[in-house]
Symmetry: C4
Subunit: 379 residues, 4 copies
Amino acid sequence: MPTTTPPNVAPAQWLNLHEYEAAAKAVLPSPIFDFVAGGSGDEVTLREAPAAFDRWRLVPRVMQGLHEVSTASTVLGLDVSMPVLIAPFAAHRLCHDEGECATARAARSARTIFTLATPSTVSMEDVGRQAGTWWFQLYIFRDRGLTRELVRRASDAGASAIVVTLDMPIFGRREADERNRFTLPPGLEFVHMPKETKAPSTMPGSRVATAVNSIFESALTWKDLEWLASLSPLPVVAKGILHADDAVRAIEHGARAISVSNHGGRQLDSAVAALDVLPEVVEAVGQKVDVLVDGGVRRGADVLKALALGARAVMIGRPVAWGLALDGERGVLQALELLRGELERDLVLCGRGSPGAVDRSLVRSVTPPATVRPASFPR
Amino acid sequence: MPTTTPPNVAPAQWLNLHEYEAAAKAVLPSPIFDFVAGGSGDEVTLREAPAAFDRWRLVPRVMQGLHEVSTASTVLGLDVSMPVLIAPFAAHRLCHDEGECATARAARSARTIFTLATPSTVSMEDVGRQAGTWWFQLYIFRDRGLTRELVRRASDAGASAIVVTLDMPIFGRREADERNRFTLPPGLEFVHMPKETKAPSTMPGSRVATAVNSIFESALTWKDLEWLASLSPLPVVAKGILHADDAVRAIEHGARAISVSNHGGRQLDSAVAALDVLPEVVEAVGQKVDVLVDGGVRRGADVLKALALGARAVMIGRPVAWGLALDGERGVLQALELLRGELERDLVLCGRGSPGAVDRSLVRSVTPPATVRPASFPR
Amino acid sequence: MPTTTPPNVAPAQWLNLHEYEAAAKAVLPSPIFDFVAGGSGDEVTLREAPAAFDRWRLVPRVMQGLHEVSTASTVLGLDVSMPVLIAPFAAHRLCHDEGECATARAARSARTIFTLATPSTVSMEDVGRQAGTWWFQLYIFRDRGLTRELVRRASDAGASAIVVTLDMPIFGRREADERNRFTLPPGLEFVHMPKETKAPSTMPGSRVATAVNSIFESALTWKDLEWLASLSPLPVVAKGILHADDAVRAIEHGARAISVSNHGGRQLDSAVAALDVLPEVVEAVGQKVDVLVDGGVRRGADVLKALALGARAVMIGRPVAWGLALDGERGVLQALELLRGELERDLVLCGRGSPGAVDRSLVRSVTPPATVRPASFPR
Amino acid sequence: MPTTTPPNVAPAQWLNLHEYEAAAKAVLPSPIFDFVAGGSGDEVTLREAPAAFDRWRLVPRVMQGLHEVSTASTVLGLDVSMPVLIAPFAAHRLCHDEGECATARAARSARTIFTLATPSTVSMEDVGRQAGTWWFQLYIFRDRGLTRELVRRASDAGASAIVVTLDMPIFGRREADERNRFTLPPGLEFVHMPKETKAPSTMPGSRVATAVNSIFESALTWKDLEWLASLSPLPVVAKGILHADDAVRAIEHGARAISVSNHGGRQLDSAVAALDVLPEVVEAVGQKVDVLVDGGVRRGADVLKALALGARAVMIGRPVAWGLALDGERGVLQALELLRGELERDLVLCGRGSPGAVDRSLVRSVTPPATVRPASFPR
C-alpha cells in the first residue's frame, strides 16, 4: 500500500537509530563521539529530549481504507519525501572524510533538505554543487560585512533558506569536551570562519572559547533579524526558539518559519524540552507559519508525535552523524530511509495516509505509572 | 466457600505466571521465546501493558457475608468458568508439537473460550473436533473468496464467533525477530494461509514480510466489517480497537463485541495501553455490548481491575504459550486454573461474590510516589 | 526539654528499624524471616506501604516555646507512652523462645499496648499474667461457641479490648512460604486453635491451607460484628478496613475503634495503601472514634504523618518481630524506645509538644520529581 | 559581553561542583566527609534538595541585545558579586587547617558574603580581621548573657548581620556520625562554645549529644527573636523557616530577612524541600524583604531557578567545604568563581542581563515523564 517511492538503497545491518549510535560509538574516537553525542552541564536537557517524547502515546484509528500512503510533505513550500530534515551541526568531516558533501548527497538521494552549518568543514560552494535542496545555517558575526557575505555566498551557491541560530549569545559549556581537551584534528578547519577561528585550539564549548565567543555577535536584537531577512530574498528560519512570544516576534521581524530547539541540549542545560513548548509556539504563530522542532527524534513514532503537536517537520542531527561515521553518504541515506520507513509504517498503523492527516487527536499524554520504590533506607 | 468447581488438575510447580514465563524461557529456543514474548520497536507499548495495571489499586470491602463465590461469567452469551479467554496468537506448534489442539483441549477442560488464530499451525477442523467453545480469529484477505471460505469453514467446524483483527493494515516490525532471522521451523506451516505464505522464509514482523503483507487486505473500511458480519450468523468481535469512536463505528457496522487491544505491543509501538482507553470505550458503546481487553494480564487482581474498568472479560496470550511450552495441554490447563484460582481468591478478598458484582468502586488510581532520584551528576 | 520518662533500657547497637530488620535477617532461618517479612502475590501492596509515607513531607514550625514535650497519648481511653501500639501477628515463638510473653513484657515496660493474635504460640492466660495493657486479636471461627469462649478467656485474662480482624475471609497467598514449604517448627503450636489446626502442616498462606480456611468464618456479616460486640463489655476494634463506608458500618454495628489496614500486604495484593485511605475514613467516622493505621511505619516521622492524616495511633508489627528475634524482651523494648525517641525528637523539630498538637497542616504531599529516564531502547 | 570583573584566580582542574565533591571525598577521612555530606535519618530530605530543583526547567528568551551582563546583586543592601552567599556550617578546620579564615578570605576575594557559624573552629575576631563582608550565625544559648556577648563580639568584629538559626530546638540525628563515632579531632575546638562543649566527645548529631542539647535554648519563642533583634543595630536574618506564617511572624518580630532552609537535611528528616516552600514564603512576606534559600544548589541554573521562584540569593555550604578541603582559600575561591561563571553564562543564555531581570516566567515545572517500570514480579 505505501506509495512513496523509496530511494534506491539496501537497508543497512543496523535495525534502528539506537543501533546506529552504538555502532558509531564503536568506530569513532571517543573524543569525537563525545563531541557529537554530548550536551552541556549535567546533560539534563539532553536526556530529557527523548523523555519528552515518552510522555505521549499514539491513539491509532482503524479501518481507514488507505489505498495510498505517502510520507511526502512540504516545508517552506519545498517538496520533501518526509517531514524529517537534516539539522545543522558542525564539522561533518569529524565523522567522515567527505564530510558535509557526503551528507548533502545523501539528503539529495533521500529527497529531503540538508542544512549546512556555518562551522562546516567543507565550503558551501562545494556542498552546493552536490546537494539537492539545502539550507544554510548562519551565526550572525560581529562583523556584519562577513555575515552579509556569507548570506550572499549561500544564495549564490543555491541555498533555499537561511536558518539563523538565535540561542548562542555565548557558547554552552560541554564538559566532556573540556575533559577530553577536544580540538579539531589536523587537516580539518572551519572553512567559513575568520582565519583566527578556522581551527581553534579549543572547540566551541571548551572553557576558554574566547576567540569564538568574540567572533559571533552576542548582543543580538530583533532588529538584527530584520536586517538579516532584508539581505536576500531567501526565507529565514529562526532557530533556537523556546518561548511563544519569541516566536511571534521572530515572525514579526521577518522570519518565515520557526525552529523550536534547545540546540540539542548543548547550550543552556536545564532548558525546557523543545517538544514541551511546541504546542504553545504553534498556537501563537498560527497555522500559516511552518514550525520545526528538533531534539530526541529517533523513531517514526517520534515524528508522528511532533506532527500531532503541531510541527510541520522535525530535524535530526546526531543520527545523521552516526550514519556518516559508519558508511559516509550511503550510511546517511540508509539512516534516513530507515526512519522514513518507520514513519511510513507508523502512518499506516495509525490509519493516516499522509503527514497532513495527522492532528492533535493522534496523541495523548500518558499517566505516569506508580513506580513503587523500595524503602528509603540507603542499603 | 468458593463454589466454582475447579477442573481436575493438580497445580504445577510454578507458583504464578511470572514463573511460567521464566521456566518457558529456559526451555524454548531463544528465537522462539523472543518471537512469542517480544513486541515491536522499542517495546514501549509492550512494557507499558503491565504498568497500566500498576496504576490502579483495589479497594476491598469487608463483611459481605459471601456464602457462594463463583468466577463464572458469560461472554457473548456463552458460559465461561471465568472472564478470562484465550487470545489468538500464531503458531502454537512453536511451543508444543500438539499445538493449537492441545491449547483447545485445555480451554475445554478449563471451560473457557479458545480463540484460534488464522496463522495457526493446526487446521481449524482438527481443532474443532477437540475444542469446547472456540472462536476463530480472522484476518481479512485481499482475496475475499478465501476470506469467505475461512468463515464458512470456521462455522462448519463449530466456531461460536469470528474475531476479526482490525489493527494490522501492515505488519508491525519486531526487531528481535529480524535480529534472530526468525523463520518457522521445518515441518510447521500456516495451514490456513495461501500456498505462498504457508511457510514464509521470514515471519510476519520480519523486515521484508512483503509476501504476507500482500496477502492481507491493508485498505479495510467499515464496509468490509459489515460485509464480514453478513457472511454468517456467527457474531463478530472487532479486535484491535483503541479509540471510542472506532468502537462505536464497529458496533454500527455489525460487530457484536469489542476487543480493546494493541496486539500485545506487536504492532504500533508507542500505542496507548489498552487498559488506559478501556473506560472510554465502555462508556461509548454502553453496557449492552461486551467489551474485552488484553495485554499485560498476569494476576487475578489484573482481571479484577479490567472488570472494574468495564471489561466483560480479558484475553491472555503469552501465559498460555508458556504453559503450552512447559507441559502441553496440561501446562495450559494448570496456567488457566492458576489464574482462575487467583481471581477467585481475590474476589473473596474484595468482598465480591462474582464478576458481575465488580464495579468501578473497586479500583482507584494510585498517586505516583515521590521517587527521589540521586543528584544529576553522571557518575 | 523532652519530659516523657523513658523506660530503663540502654539503646541497642542498631541505629534504626531498618538496621533491626537487616540484623534479624542475618540471625533468623530464612523461611522464618520470609514468613514474617513477606507479603502476598507480587508484594506490590507490601512495597507500597512505605511508599505511601514517602508521598508526604513534614512542614515544621519554629519558635513554639515548647517547655515540655511528651509522646504520651490515649487510645480507647487507655494511657500509652506513645501513639504506637504493637500490631497482632502470629507465632512470636518463631522469633524467640519466650514468644508473646517476651513481647508483652516489653510493651508493659514501654507503656504501650500489646495485641495478642489468635494464632499465638503462647496462651493468653500466660500472656495476661505478664502483660501491661493488652488487647486480644480475634478471628471469628465458624464455631461460634469457640469464638465466644475465646472472648470470655480474653476478658478473664485481662484484655482491654477485642481487635476483630475482618479482612481474612480467606487466606492471602504468600508465595515465598509455599516456595519454602514453610511450616511451624516442631514444638510450636497455635495454642488457641482447634486441635486440627494447632500445628498445620502448612501455614496460613500456603497453597492448600484448607484446614485453616475451613476453621475461620469466611461469610461474616455486620450482624456478626454486632454479636461479637455483645459478648462482653470489652470495646471492639474493627481491623482490616480500607473503605470509609465500611468504617461507618463497623461503628454502627458496635465497633468502638477502626483499624485501617491491609494486613501488612499479606492478604489482597494490589490493595490500596492504608495510609492513602486513612483521611477519608477519619472524615467519615468523625473525631469521636479512634482510628488506627498500620503498614510501613519505620520512623518517628511516619508516626507524625499518620497522626497528621487523622490517625489516633499507629500499629507496628514486623519491627517488633525483629527486636524479638535479636534480643527477646529487651530487643523489643529497645526497638520501641528507639521509635519513641525518634517520635519525640521529631515532635520537637516540628514545633509540636504532643501527639494532640499534630494536625493536617503538618504535612503536604510532595510533587513527584521529574525523573528523566534514559532513552527507551533496551540496551 | 559579561562585564562582571572576575576574581584573579585560575580555574581548578574540577569542572563542576559534583567533581569537587568527588575529589573531596577522595582526600578527606571518611568520617569527616560523612559529617559534612550527611543528613539526618534516612536522608530523604537531603536527597530531595537537588530533586526539588530538577522539578523545574528554564525557558530562555532570545535576541535580548544584552551588551552588559552582570551577576552582581545586593542582599540586605550589601553589594555582592553574585546572589550566592556562603552558608554557615560548623568546624571548617575539619577540612583545612586555616579553617574559617581561609573561607572568609576566599569570600572576600569573590566579593560575596561569608557566614561564620557559632560552632566555628576559629574565633570571630580572627575571622573578622581577614574577612570582607561577613555575617555571624547565632544559636541562642540558654545562657542569654553568653548570647548577648556573642552578638556584641560579632558586632565589634565587623559582622554585618546576625543569622539566627531557628530550626534547632534539638539536634537532628545523623546516624552516619554515630556509626563513625565521630568526634572533633584533637586540636580542634568550638571556640565560641562554653567550656564543656568546646570539644564534645560526641559531635552534635551523635546519639547522646546531651551536653550540647542542654546548652542551646530549645524553647525559643518569637519574643526571643524580638529580644535578639534589640541587642544590636545589626539586621537579623531568621534562618530555618519552612512555613509562610513563620516567615511573617519572624518579620513582625524584628527579622530583616528570611532564610528558607531545612538545615541541609540535617535536622528533621522528611521535612519539605526549601525550594518547594520558597514561593509561598516570598508571597507572604512581599517583595520588601530579602528571602534566601539553601539546599542542593550545585549549578548556575539552580541559582536561576531559586531567583525565579523569588529568592534574593542562595546560600551554599557543602561545595564550599569541598573547595576548602581540596585547596584551602584558593579552592573555595575557585569553587565560588566556577559557580559564578556558570550563573553568568546561564544568565546570558536565558537572555537576562542581571539577577534583577529574572522573574517567575523564567521557569516552568516539568511534567514527570512516564517511566515505564518492568513488570512488578520481584526477579
